[in-house]
């Protein structure tokens, strides 16, 4: 049976040993929650600390240190345009990469789910895509840089969209393939008999049925792109700088300015966090659909 939380519970009256285990489980959960939230809490209070307090022990605002908004003020007013530029770039690059990865990935995923290939087997094609995920970025960063230079694409959002679409396409392909597997072929048969083309079937029938996975894969693609650092760092310098690189910019000749790191970290995590909270049910479904079905 399934309770309100959507978590399945075993039936029957809990035995005493069960209750003990429940207590232990709860304790573990509480500890884990503190562990998960602590860095965010720390970032929040550090962003409110004066530089002098950053190096002194202070956990609780007002009790142990005087909170100040000056860091936020300085960041949002003095550096506001740079920060909002960074957020904007990250958003556009993330969106672009997500769209490209999802478009190409959904097509490929559908093909892998519905057709049997000759010459190159389905399994090989799937692994071809998956191996993209295995590839260390270190192996392609130098040529990317070199060619971006040659083609005058350095410091453009286009090149970053292209790179990130490549990195996140495997998720799209494999997740969508599994999603399409989950749709009974009979649903498409009817349309096929009516003379619809494969593409039409995909768009009108199968795709809507895989909406949760579509959203999950899109979110994953967007989120991984949002946090990508190495390529953003190397391929951009002023116009196309994403937020992840802006955070790195808080290090200067005088060392890291932690209060600014904290404000930028929180600004950088806010958009994904909001999106995640809205669609968290889909993410879990999508993530697990992909992994579990295999």
């Amino acid at each position: 049976m399934t309770d309100r939380d959507g978590i399945r519970r075993l039936g029957g009256v809990p035995a005493r040993s069960d209750r003990l285990k429940d207590v232990v489980a709860s304790a573990i959960l509480v500890l884990a929650a503190i562990w998960v939230l602590f860095p965010f809490y720390w970032a929040a209070i550090t962003s409110l600390k004066q530089p002098v307090d950053v190096f002194r022990l202070s956990f609780v605002p007002w009790v142990q240190f005087t909170p100040t908004l000056s860091n936020w003020r300085s960041e949002l007013f003095y550096r506001g345009s740079a920060i909002f530029g960074g957020l904007g770039n990250s958003f556009l690059i993330g969106l672009g990469a997500c769209l490209v990865a999802m478009a190409l990935g959904t097509l490929a995923g559908y093909g892998l789910a519905r057709f049997r290939y000759r010459g190159w087997r389905n399994r090989d094609i799937s692994l071809y895509f998956l191996s993209q995920r295995f590839l260390p970025p270190a192996a392609t960063i130098l040529p990317f840089f070199y060619f971006a230079q040659r083609l005058d694409l350095l410091d453009t959002r286009i090149i970053l969209i292209a790179a990130n679409a490549t990195f996140t396409m495997p998720f799209a392909v494999l997740l969508m393939r599994d999603a399409f597997h989950g749709i009974p072929i009979e649903m498409e048969e009817a349309a096929r008999v009516d003379g619809a083309s494969s593409l039409q079937i995909l768009l009108r029938i199968s795709l809507p049925l895989t909406a949760p996975t579509l959203v999950a894969a899109g979110i994953i693609s967007f989120a991984f792109t949002w946090n990508e650092f190495l390529f953003g760092f190397v391929l951009s310098y002023s116009r196309a700088v994403p937020m992840s690189v802006l955070i790195a910019g808080t290090q200067d000749v005088m060392g890291v300015q932690f209060w600014y790191v904290s404000t930028r970290l929180l600004l950088a995590i806010l958009p994904p966090a909001i999106v995640v909270l809205i669609v968290q049910r889909y993410i879990v479904t999508g993530l697990t659909l992909g992994a579990v079905k295999g």
């Binding site: 309770d3 959507g6 978590i7 399945r8 075993l10 039936g11 285990k21 959960l29 884990a32 929650a33 998960v36 860095p39 970032a43 550090t46 002194r56 022990l57 956990f59 190409l104 990935g105 097509l107 490929a108 093909g111 892998l112 057709f115 290939y117 000759r118 087997r121 389905n122 399994r123 094609i125 692994l127 895509f129 998956l130 993209q132 995920r133 260390p136 970025p137 270190a138 192996a139 130098l142 040529p143 070199y146 060619f147 396409m169 989950g182 989120a223 949002w226 190495l230 690189v245 790195a248 890291v256 932690f258 970290l265 995640v276 968290q280 993410i283 697990t288 992994a291 579990v292 295999g294």
Partner: protein, 305 residues
């Protein structure tokens, strides 16, 4: 049900001969070709170029072909071995720890106590925090004189730990950040897998024995073997690429204690402008990953049919 069947093959519905077969394959490839071509252009092609670069030496006038000289130098370069050793250690420890902690968490949550839904939501957040920022944040959290962790330690009477100024503890620090970030991933996947275990099976086992350990090991774990394998492999390849955290938390130090392979490629290639040598390190990384990939394909490849 034919849901898991890959497809009706070209022999499929029996209607029409070679021309139908040809159009079948045409249709099939029209779906996957765009993705395949894209990946080729942005992956295989740059890889070939990296290979080409690894055979060059970068001097004042540009690149010069030197054959395998870079690799010979790598072999006797203690910095390369140090980075390799560090990266492999990092991968091993990170994967094991995230696996254990994530699984324990999943088992705990699977009991269905109150607050699990909230926890599940919260646990997604670490995956979406930029590792770059976490590294910088770590500088304050691991701060030796007066950072929160050392203060808690002092409060319980332990000596402060040199988190960032001792080689071994620096490794622990970067592991801590990585584990914090990726345990949720393991947790979510294992939890979903656990929830797919049929309740009747567990109840039946419960009747046989009241202790949970055998139930866990003989029934649950074998049933979630598939997703567990996927998670392990994904963790391994992600951990292998580690860069952001040492870059911000320790600069690869002290000395070279936390210098990962990717960090070496970045410094050698883009900071020191020594492209040829950097490419050779990248090629070695590639070979290592391919070995892992081949092992993976042999064990789990069939699941991708």
């Amino acid at each position: 049900m034919s849901t898991t069947l890959a497809a009706r093959g070209p022999e499929g519905d029996g209607a029409g001969g070679t021309s139908w077969r040809r159009s079948y394959h045409l249709r099939a490839w029209s779906f996957t070709a765009p993705g395949v071509v894209w990946v080729f252009a942005f992956t295989i092609f740059p890889l070939a170029h990296t290979l080409y670069l690894s055979l060059q030496s970068t001097g004042l006038g540009g690149n010069r072909f030197v054959g395998l000289r870079n690799f010979v130098r790598l072999w006797s370069d203690y910095r390369f071995w140090s980075a390799l050793r560090l990266t492999l250690t990092f991968v091993a420890v990170s994967v094991v720890v995230t696996l254990v902690v994530g699984t324990v968490l999943a088992l705990a949550v699977n009991r269905g106590v109150r607050g699990t839904r909230v926890f599940r939501t919260l646990s997604i957040l670490p995956m979406f925090a930029a590792p770059i920022a976490l590294g910088y944040l770590g500088l304050t959290i691991f701060y030796q004189q007066g950072g929160p962790i050392n203060n808690v330690l002092a409060a319980v009477g332990l000596r402060p730990v040199p988190w960032l100024s001792d080689g071994r503890w620096a490794l622990v620090s970067i592991l801590a950040v990585d584990v914090w970030q990726w345990t949720p991933f393991v947790f979510l996947v294992v939890l979903a897998a656990l929830q797919n275990v049929p309740a009747e099976l567990l109840e039946a086992a419960r009747i046989e024995t009241s202790s949970s350990w055998p139930v866990l090991t003989r029934i649950t774990f074998p049933l979630i073997r598939g997703p567990l394998g996927t998670v392990i492999i994904l963790r391994i390849v992600e951990a292998f690429k580690v860069f952001d955290i040492p870059f911000t938390l320790t600069n690869g130090g002290p000395g070279v204690a936390t210098r990962s392979l990717t960090y070496d490629v970045y410094t050698t290639g883009l900071r020191n402008q020594n492209f040829g040598y950097a490419a050779s390190i990248a090629v070695v990384m590639l070979v290592l990953v391919m070995v892992v990939a081949i092992v993976f394909y042999r064990s789990y490849g069939s699941t991708y049919e």
